[in-house]
Symmetry: C2
Subunit: 481 residues, 2 copies
């Protein structure tokens, strides 16, 4: 399809002709012309509107800069498909998930801990103590790298968890999402190649997309990403970093094996790339002993480590930490400054107080017990209630996520819509991938629900699943005794 | 100068030759080769290392993508000057400014209000009331658009200040810097053209640079930016937005005239661009009546309005607001999500409480009186103490900044270094511009100092100024009476 334009330019105007032409074309393209329509050849259009071919070239160049048109070598210019940096459908869905009222739904989508578990009184005490002590200082601009005593207390926390880092390597940020965003700023130029696990965390994809990264995916396996697949890519392309969640990955729940961790570190050294380890869940192991972070084994300073407590503490505080290699420090500091100057003063100070009082460790221990119970309940309910064709893909004894595979003919997005209508929400799998291969997967989380809701939720899921398949569920009767 | 390489590739390796070559060249360029050195022609290098010319082309392309080399049409490839997205010297300087201890210096650099003026007790009361009321809810993830009651109370605040907006147009962010950063994300692709006032706010330049914008500058005049100069650019280039501070601009203190505001709005309509109005100081007018924001006159929804209270309230809270045109709302919400999910819950709620109690207006009235006094004192001290060749360029009766022009032969950066050594800091003018035309300008602020320090600071400035010129100051003796 080719398009013919019917307009003329104003040669009396003091606006240059090519800008006039550019605006007219832009307007047409945005409003009237479908994607992949061919634009008139340069000479033809020049003749038609009575200008020099160079004028058309300039106008087309501006349109290409706007990503409104693209050129195919030897065949001319075409209207580009409407693109947004972030896939709108996905974005809006996830935002909706975040905003769901717990009271109205059974929420198996949210991975945010339920607010009843927050240590509000303890933290209120911390805030008041800090305000008494620091007064207005707590409300001043803070250092961009973060409140020094907090950096010291989190350094100690890391050490107790097997991670040694120098104080200057620790940066305070406003949550793990900000960590990902700031790291993208310093590491990614447009078109830079990176690798992510497939599927992976939705918000990370958004941040990488916003820097127009060239995102390569490698598939997840029961013991971590497929490293053979990774190496195939590494042999062909220089990548900037590999983004990974090593423990109880979002959304699969996968826990990397120690062997694969060692292999990954070796690959990073051999093929010269960074690893960004996003650790939000390593504290939630349900076997006896804690799991290993990649950072613990990182002797060559290849791992940029993000630590957030938002899944076990209070996400509304918006606090997280980055440990990063020395040579990235100045750039990171500048990027933090350009992002929001510094993180909030009061929350940094109160969290520091809370850490020093040893309250965080106690709180996490408690959370681990509660979550373990819910994990066991949910896996049991899935096994006893749901038909055998629905499978938990990986069982990792930790974290907040269960990744379920449904039969290939089930569209999880349609299932989701049916579920919403009866007050149940979960996360359809397609949200977590750039590839179109998870349409029959879903992620269930038990973070925001209590035991009753888990039982009810799985029953409701069964109901809509059978309805979707057009099957009826047997009515259950109990004998009157 | 041309460089000759002495290395060979491993043809037995399973890494592709062009990646091997790319890495070797990258390593050489980063460590050994000065900027603007010419690289060997493609054929020569191909012969030398025994590969296909296509292999060299691929390697050179990767280096160009990394911005390590640049091509001159017809003359080959050259080593690029070391570039950082953000000019490192500037960045580090500004960060130092933000971190200076008031107790050790007379700080005429910082525009942060001194912490003695913060209403700590009132805000502590607000925090405790909110925690009593909202409990764990205050520490949950918040909606990405912001806490609804806060959006309502700030809408009312805007209305009282002449700005009408719908509720859905209001977005809560973590400070004005984050507002600039997020707006850059949704509006700027690499190479997009924008216009800024010259000089302008340092942190804005950082954010725009981080998106690799093509930044055009127009000079400031006593009544606002030079709109004739702006229009010259508009006739030639399509710009995405004009970034401006309409009232008591940073660093010049300039207050736009109503006439120029109207002209600017007309230009935006005619040449189809947005205006980002960064309003951090309109509350600090020292004449009888308040000044006009551009947003008040914005009938066509051209103005994206950023409002922060960090200069009159408590900057460590990290809160600000954006009013933006309807059609940008979905993208903004997604960008906020990808940036840090949401702003902190407790601070949003406490600030809302504080607003509703009418405490902010009272606090700002008080601040205005205090700042007016300091403004008058500082301008008087400059006039009485400093030699006539040092001029306050614009006098606008408002804000926190005085922009001083020194004689052309004075290098303000050298003067700054001399000043630091005797415990005085201010902002050298070059920080606020991409052009090299403000080397003999400085910005003084009286935000963080008391009246005594203003007097002492100007005297110290006089001292180092005369020392810099190699002049002696008359020793002053007072008669013993």
């Amino acid at each position: 399809m080719i398009v013919i334009f019917e307009f003329s330019l104003n040669k009396e105007s003091d606006k240059t002709l090519y800008l006039q032409l550019y605006k007219k074309l832009k307007n047409e393209i945005k409003n009237n012309i479908p994607a992949d329509t061919k634009l008139p050849p340069i000479r033809k259009l020049a003749e038609k509107v009575g200008v020099n071919p160079a004028t058309v070239v300039k106008a087309y160049n501006l349109l290409a800069e706007d990503n409104l048109i693209y050129k195919k070598v030897g065949s001319g210019s075409f209207v580009a498909p409407t693109q947004k940096v972030i896939r709108p459908e996905t974005g809006e869905n996830m935002l909706e998930h975040g905003q769901i009222k717990l009271s109205e739904n059974i929420n198996l989508a949210s991975a945010a801990p339920s607010k009843e578990l927050f240590p509000v009184e303890d933290f209120k005490y911390a805030i008041n103590q800090v305000l008494e002590r620091d007064q207005g200082e707590a409300f001043s601009y803070q250092k961009s790298q973060g409140f020094l005593p907090l950096r010291k207390s989190i350094q100690k926390y890391f050490m107790n968890n097997g991670i040694n880092s120098s104080l200057k390597q620790i940066q305070v940020v406003s949550g793990a999402q900000q960590a990902i965003d700031i790291l993208s700023k310093i590491l990614l130029d447009f078109g830079e190649k990176i690798v992510v696990e497939d599927p992976t965390y939705f918000g990370a994809l958004q941040a990488f997309n916003s820097r127009k990264a060239d995102i390569i995916t490698v598939k997840m396996q029961a013991d971590g990403a497929d490293l053979a697949e990774l190496e195939t890519h590494l042999k062909e392309k220089q990548i900037k970093f590999f983004f990974t969640m090593q423990n109880f990955q979002n959304p699969t729940g996968v826990n990397w094996s120690f062997e694969k961790q060692q292999q990954l570190l070796k690959l990073a050294e051999e093929y010269d790339f960074y690893i960004i380890e996003d650790d939000i869940l390593s504290d939630l192991y349900y076997n006896e002993s804690r799991v290993k972070t990649l950072k613990e084994s990182d002797e060559k300073d290849r791992v940029i480590y993000i630590k957030s407590f938002s899944k076990v503490f209070m996400p509304g505080l918006r606090l997280a930490f980055i440990i990063l290699p020395d040579k990235l420090l100045p750039e990171l500091l500048e990027a933090k400054y350009a992002t929001d100057i510094s993180s909030g003063g009061l929350t940094q100070r109160a969290f520091d107080f809370y850490l020093r009082e040893g309250l965080l460790d106690k709180h996490i221990d408690l959370q681990r017990k509660l979550f373990r119970k819910k994990y066991n309940l949910m896996t049991a309910e899935i096994k006893s209630e749901l038909p055998a064709e629905i499978k938990v893909v990986y069982e990792s004894k930790g974290g907040l996520y269960l990744w379920l595979k449904l039969p290939a003919n089930v569209d999880a997005k349609e299932l989701y819509q049916a579920a919403v209508s009866i007050g149940l929400v979960f996360s359809p799998g397609y949200l977590f991938s750039l590839n179109n291969i998870f349409s029959n997967y879903i992620r269930l989380s038990f973070a925001a629900v209590n035991e009753d809701e888990i039982r009810k939720g799985i029953k409701l899921f069964k109901k809509i699943y059978y309805e979707y398949l057009g099957k009826e569920i047997d009515q259950e009767y109990s004998p009157l005794l």
